[in-house]
Amino acid sequence: MPPFKDEQILLIAPGSQTTLAQLGLPESFTPARLRFKSRMFPADKEGEYEPNKVRQKEQRSTGLANGAGTQDGARTAGEGDNEVAYEEDPISEEGAVWPIEGGRVTNWPCFFALIEHIYMSINPSFHTPILLLTQPVWTPREHEKITQFFFEKFKTPAFGLMDSAMATAWAYGLHTATVVDMGLAKTDVTAISEFIAHDVGRATAVPDCGGEALTQRLFELLSPQGLTREMCEQLKRSPICEVLPPGASLPGPEKDGAFNPASAASTGANGSGPDQRTSAGALGDAPRGPGPDTEVGEEMNEDEDNEGVLDVASIVTSGKMSEYLAKKEREKAERTAAKKKGGDAAAAAARPARLPNSRRERNTFVYEDHALLDALKNMNMNGEKMAEARAALDEGLSKAPSTDGETTQMQTHNGEAPPPEGTIRREIEVGVERFQAASGGILERIADAVHRTISSVEAVSKRAELWDSLIVVGNGSKVKGFKDALLATLHSKYLISPSSATIFTSELPSNLSTPLATGANTPQPQIGPHGGSGGLQQSSSHVNPLLLAATTAHQASHLHPSSSGLGQPSHSHNLHSSHGQTPTSIKLAKIPEYFPEWKDHGYEEAAFLGAQVAAKVLFVVDQGMGKGYMTRSDYNEQGPSGIHDYSM
């Protein structure tokens, strides 16, 4: 078999929501080139699946017969009276089957169909080794099943499996780490030491601990205000949703003191409406100039909007479409007028009110309304009318280019594809609920899982190191502030403080007084079999404690700049504690920043980076010497169960 080259390697990383894939390794590793939604649609024939939603619609010969021409992917148009047309709808997700739930494959035919779809759309040559990232929750039996599928279906010459937690550790270049992978509906916590994952006590697929749980919590909090689940999902993804560290107070109305005189003047608005709007514009994270700020405030005074967010989709479907559209048009005209009127004043007023999101009581985000679009499509509008309706409903499209340049908060969006053409955007305003996504106990659950996982590592001496290299990845953890909040939760619940009882025997505070010539203050080295259960204490027992204190005090001030803010004593040592208990310090691991593209993208998908590193090592450098992958002839000899000898 000829050796594999960089450009031949295929990587696939299935996830509950998104499956990442990439053919070929670039010179400098980049985030996954291809992102597939992990879902398929049942085809007409039972047991078969289509990658996109196929909509069947009947077209009446009267009227809008040719309208569908603008829809992409329109395939067939039958002939005769009852013309049946099928169209592929790349956006709609109605009726989709998601074969992976909580990391676990729940629908194998669909899962295999998904993999096949991915493979076919990449269409690699036959001489393509495949590395598949596995979810920790997959069982050995399932690994065999997948191996069998790949070899029999694609005739792949070489195939390897790699645990995604392990891949994350590779990406970080750490041989010992605790990987917290927060996915859509679950979190996996894996303790890895010396590149070996501890199976015992590994918390796989802790339920209700994923991004979905955050959305759910937002929905619980906001559904009384009329927000739908989809809105909450987008709110979660928007930069205004943050997780504050436990104990941090929520911004109240008194903090958000800025009042928009311009909007008040222009509209005579009362109450909080204009006030809130100020913040949105001033923050600049809603991609609009400060001008429209006031206009929206004005809109809020419309009677229909008083009850909060309207379900436009229901209006559309209920047939009051034209009235509604007309009204929207009117509003837009008014708004433009108002903009001319109050634009400058508003801009001036908004500027001093620029506060960070975390200190505002209310803020807005832009909502892309797919449901509405679906509803429109289902009404069989023709292209022209559709475009009109869209333009009327879309608030986002009318935006002025952001003049503030204050787009820092937009960076979480950077990695994502721009919204497809034709989406309908609306602005939605929310209050302090946006800070409470993680208030449903999710931080505590994950923290408990981390504690449990590390505590069940048999070698007690390794636990300190595991606590010191915590890796939080997974797109569920993307919400701003989540990682810090998790770290703070771990600190406040599990961190062992230096005991005051032994402080003079084993741990010297950094402000220790200078030894006198009489020897009065010279600390005595410890005597006796102190420690013993872990190597850590023993290593310290023969060292002059003064020296020890000096070095640790030095470290403490440099390594834990954040720790003093968290209310712990500044002399918290990790290695020199007399505690047999862990953790005496908890730290997030740092990722080496070799890859600029990854740096911009964020390291939530670090497992994929690790897979790239591993693929390079296994397929190109190592060429199978280390049994990193299974070749086709290995498979022919050993069958699917042989994969256990090869997987990473």
Partner: protein
């Protein structure tokens, strides 16, 4: 060997991996045979909610402070199954959640049988042909030495009928723990969560009359710690993690200043107890130690006080230094008078200390066997990991038995100690030679659950001896080859060869404990040429008991010498293999030794006698 079992080619170790299930009071261990640690270790505790009949299994579920959550344990305090309603579900969870699959799909829909484009050979045999969860895996289960017939039968019934296992085997946990330590003759001291037991094992067979057990083990230490906390002034607060929202550092001994979580409806007391147990486990790991000796702690309390204490911090931030107290928690295991007592915690009796139990166990076995057992004491079980346990045990035994050589073997890795019986099962289940030992589904269908009684009960002697033959011939052979038996000149050299053969293997550093299938294949292949008619001639094996023991012994010696000389090169190769560990040694020797089965009783006697005579002649002048 059991001639009732036809060797079943289907279950050759490298073809289908057997599942090994080792249920215990605290955790249930499951994994594939041939691996070095169980992949699936789930708590035996499970959660029950009033609102539903659905039970909650696994770490993820039972540590969630749900309102009204009750924690129960289906095992009895003796480590036997008590609740047969729940246990199968728990076991099934342990196996399916991490090993096999929870949701098998129908083969027609598994995506592999799609009509392929073109004429590719994508059609395969169905991957999951069953609604039954374990229809592909033989199941090897462990049981404590004192397991009841009824519960053994129940287990085979579940495996065969509910799970559809193709084959079943049950091994005594004492024997398996000895195997894991590479021994077939051993005195196994197993300190678990609910039970401490002493099991004499000889040639892979439990001597049932020598089994001693007491309820003073890990849970006992926990309750001792609770007593220490309660009896100290002021009492030490034991607040589990889930009740604490955040803690603040406080001075040693000062009351906690943590903020607590408020529950509308708190979980049941049993949940709190389980969570407290986690804190106590941490306490045991980091604080508790056993007075290393010499002598009892009671006589040395002053010395202990001089040693520096170690601080412990509770989940609510309370912390203090534990000095001499930390020796008290486990002292009751060795010194019944030292145990802390209150109304709910009666003191152990004098005969329930470890040394007394070992003594009683030894007293009930043959006198000749005792030195062998004392030289092979195997310590296993998670609670034996308490710091200083082995030193103290060794000292106590030396004190009690001044003369014979005492050797306490305990794996240094804590995983090996925690999962001793499971690892033994894993080794056994992956042996090529073991594969004919299974009870097959067919046999079960013929005989009913009663079959386990016939095959595995250590009361019925003949059958179990046959078991012992097959299971653990190995170390017997190893030890015999170490004894220098001088015969004729040529043969002396052969003995040396054999001796060299075995000794370095035994010493060989443990590189990887994973036993590769490839190696078994070699071991099997080794056996094949020697015993081409193995399966066809079960008779000689059966009649082995009738031979004169001398002649039989001599024949074995002779045979092994010949084989080792003959296959010296191959053996070298096997030994040099990277994954050859000391655990694999018994496998290899056992495989070699089984080659004797292909000679008829008559042949063996003749050769054996000749060897004995030759030896006598040699010694004569």
């Amino acid at each position: 060997m059991n001639n009732s079992t036809a060797p079943q080619a289907d279950y050759a170790g490298d073809e289908i991996s057997a599942l090994v299930l080792d249920p215990g009071y605290s955790t249930t261990r499951a994994g594939f045979a041939g691996e070095d640690v169980p992949k699936s270790v789930v708590p035996s505790y499970y959660g029950a909610l009033d609102s539903s009949d659905h039970h909650l299994f696994g770490e993820n579920a039972i540590h969630n402070p749900l309102p009204g959550l009750e924690i129960r344990n289906p095992m009895s305090s003796e480590g036997l199954v008590e609740d047969w309603e729940v246990v199968p579900k728990l076991w099934e969870y342990a196996i399916t959640s991490r090993l096999t699959s929870t949701a098998p799909t129908h083969p027609s829909k598994n995506g592999l049988n799609n009509p392929a484009e073109g004429d590719q050979d994508t059609e395969m045999e169905s991957l999951d042909d069953a609604e039954k969860p374990m229809s592909q895996n033989p199941l090897l289960m462990t049981e404590p030495g004192w397991n009841t017939t009824k519960s053994r039968e129940k287990a085979v019934e579940i495996a065969m009928e509910d799970w559809g296992c193709p084959a079943f085997y049950v091994g005594k946990s004492g024997v398996l723990a000895a195997f894991a330590a590479g021994k077939a003759t051993a005195l196994v001291v197993d300190v678990g969560a609910s039970t401490m037991s002493v099991t004499p094992v000889t040639d892979g067979l439990v001597l049932k009359k020598g089994i001693q057990k007491s309820p003073f083990a890990g849970n006992f230490i926990s309750s001792q710690i609770r007593l220490i906390f309660a009896q100290s002034t002021p009492p030490v607060p034991l607040v589990p993690h889930y009740m604490v929202k955040s803690k603040a550092p406080v001075d040693a001994g000062a009351p906690s200043q943590a903020t607590f979580v408020k529950f509308d409806k708190p979980p049941a007391a049993s949940f709190r107890r389980l969570e407290e147990e986690r804190v106590l486990t941490e306490f045991k790991e980091s604080i508790v130690r056993i007075w290393p000796g010499p002598g009892k702690f009671a006589q040395n309390e002053e010395a202990a006080r001089a040693a520096p204490g170690q601080p412990f911090e509770m989940p609510d931030g309370w912390n203090n230094v534990f000095g001499a107290e930390r020796y008290k928690a486990a002292e009751g295991l060795f010194d019944h008078k030292a145990a802390l007592v209150d109304a709910d915690n009666p003191a152990p009796k004098a005969e329930q200390t470890i040394s007394a139990m070992i003594n009683a166990s030894l007293a009930s076995v043959d006198v000749e066997l005792r030195p062998h057992l004392l030289a092979n004491i195997v310590v296993t079980g998670g609670s034996s990991l308490i710091y200083g346990f082995n030193d103290r045990l060794h000292r106590e035994l030396e004190h009690m038995f001044p003369n014979p050589r005492i050797r306490v073997t305990a794996p240094s890795s804590s995983a090996d100690r925690k999962f001793g019986a499971w690892i033994g099962g894993s080794v056994l289940g992956s042996l090529g030679t073991f594969q004919q030992m299974w009870i097959s589904k067919k046999e079960y269908d013929e005989h009913g659950p009663n079959i386990v009684e016939k095959r595995f009960s250590s009361d019925s002697n003949s059958d179990s001896e046959a078991d012992a033959d097959a299971q653990a011939s190995a170390p017997a052979a190893a030890s015999s080859s170490a004894e220098p038996v001088s015969v004729a000149d040529g043969e002396v050299r052969a003995v040396e060869v054999a001796g060299e053969e075995e000794a370095p293997v035994a010493k060989k550093a443990k590189k990887s404990s994973k036993i590769s299938n490839a190696q078994h294949r070699t071991a099997d292949a080794q056996e094949q040429p020697e015993s081409p008619a193995d399966s066809a001639t079960p008779a000689p094996a059966r009649s082995s008991n009738q031979l004169e023991p001398d002649a039989e012994e001599a024949f074995q010696q002779f045979y092994l010498r010949q084989v080792t000389a003959e296959f010296a090169e191959d053996l070298d190769k096997i030994r040099a293999a990277g994954d050859f560990s000391d655990r694999a040694l018994p496998v290899l020797v056992g495989a070699l030794r089984q080659g004797t089965a292909c000679f008829s009783a008559e042949e063996r006697r003749r050769v054996g006698r000749a060897a004995v005579t030759a030896a006598a002649v040699e010694r004569g002048p």
